[in-house]
Symmetry: C2
Subunit: 182 residues, 2 copies
DNA sequence: TGTAGCATGTAAGCCGTTACATGATTGA
DNA sequence: TCAATCATGTAACGGCTTACATGCTACA
């Protein structure tokens, strides 16, 4: 009877597990969206805010998270905490679900495929601006990596961030070489 | 009044442009799906067969492709050819649409993020089987690269395939290093 | 006073998938 | 004759986005 949740649901559940190890009160939907923007975005997706609330409600219906009305602050809000059941479900998912191959949606490579329909100058400027965008992304991810620090408790997230950085570096190298080969 | 088509639509239109330079009769939906499996899959997506026909009908409604009933063979089928209007639309799209940053949906990285919920042995075997899957993928893409040959007319597709190969190689390297660091 | 950020949602709709249905041809 | 491949679709539905609505708080 294990519920059939989407990968995105489990990803959010994962963020809530991490929160539960460092804090007591849980996260608001708004805060969860921010965490997703900082981490999930690089390896998965950062769902729209509206989607976050939808998933949170779904997780709540399954008993995977508790929703606690927080009226202590100036503003009323709901805080979400993962439950024991939720943690079990996440662990089960990690153990049993298929390890799908990554999906890459690469508009730049797609356009390059049709490079003969673009001018050579246009192709080059496309690649240049992609390298620039990679630099910006790398910068953002580097900030995330630095924020994590070197504590053992975040060893895995740190390794994943480094993976992302290495990927961006390799991509820059590949594209620069490609530019020369054209 | 430029129609608002999805990137996938334009990607398929791109396949039809390539076909038009090498052949006269056009492609059937079935053949188009095969081409997508061989090329688009690696950098974008290969839409389901049903989706191919849906897109083909849409492109036809816009006048971007001609649908020709082919009763010459043993089997009746419809062949699709890109029109001048379609070619213009594709070129315009290449010139004007936004160069979105690639989207990576990486279940392995996502799981690694929660590595502390898995056993260390399980993490390692996950990474091992990912490296294996990368090898298989690389093999498939290599066949595509080889099939293309070194003709100038396919210089761009060839470069894109090489990009993909370099990416897979880099990914293997990164993961192997990661495994040691754990 | 007004803009930015906090906080939570609903509604509509697109893109794409899986499941299913149909039927013809090729070759073992 | 039976499975595989060719060939074309429809139906249902899931996941996710954009657009929109609401209202409060902090601060310049």
């Amino acid at each position: 009877m294990t519920a059939n949740l989407s990968t995105t649901s489990y990803a959010l559940l994962g963020l809530l597990v991490f929160d539960s190890t460092t804090s007591e009160q849980g996260l608001t939907g708004y805060e969860l969206k921010q965490r997703a923007d900082r981490t999930l975005r690089f390896y998965w997706v950062s769902p729209a805010t509206s989607q976050i609330y939808t998933e949170l409600d779904r997780l709540n219906r399954h008993g995977y998270v508790d929703a606690i009305d927080d009226t202590s602050g100036k503003r009323n809000t709901r805080r979400f905490r993962i439950t024991g059941v939720g943690r079990d479900s996440l662990t089960t998912w990690l153990h049993t679900s298929e390890h799908d191959f990554p999906i890459l949606k690469h508009p730049i490579a797609l356009r390059l495929l049709m490079g003969s329909l673009m001018g050579p100058g246009e192709v080059e400027s496309m690649l240049d601006s992609y390298v620039e965008a990679l630099g910006a992304r790398r910068h953002e991810l580097e900030a995330v990596r630095d924020m994590l620090g070197d504590d053992d408790s975040v060893a895995y997230p740190a390794r994943v961030a480094e993976w992302g950085l290495a990927y961006y570096d390799s991509e820059v190298e590949i594209v620069n070489k490609l530019r020369k080969d054209l």
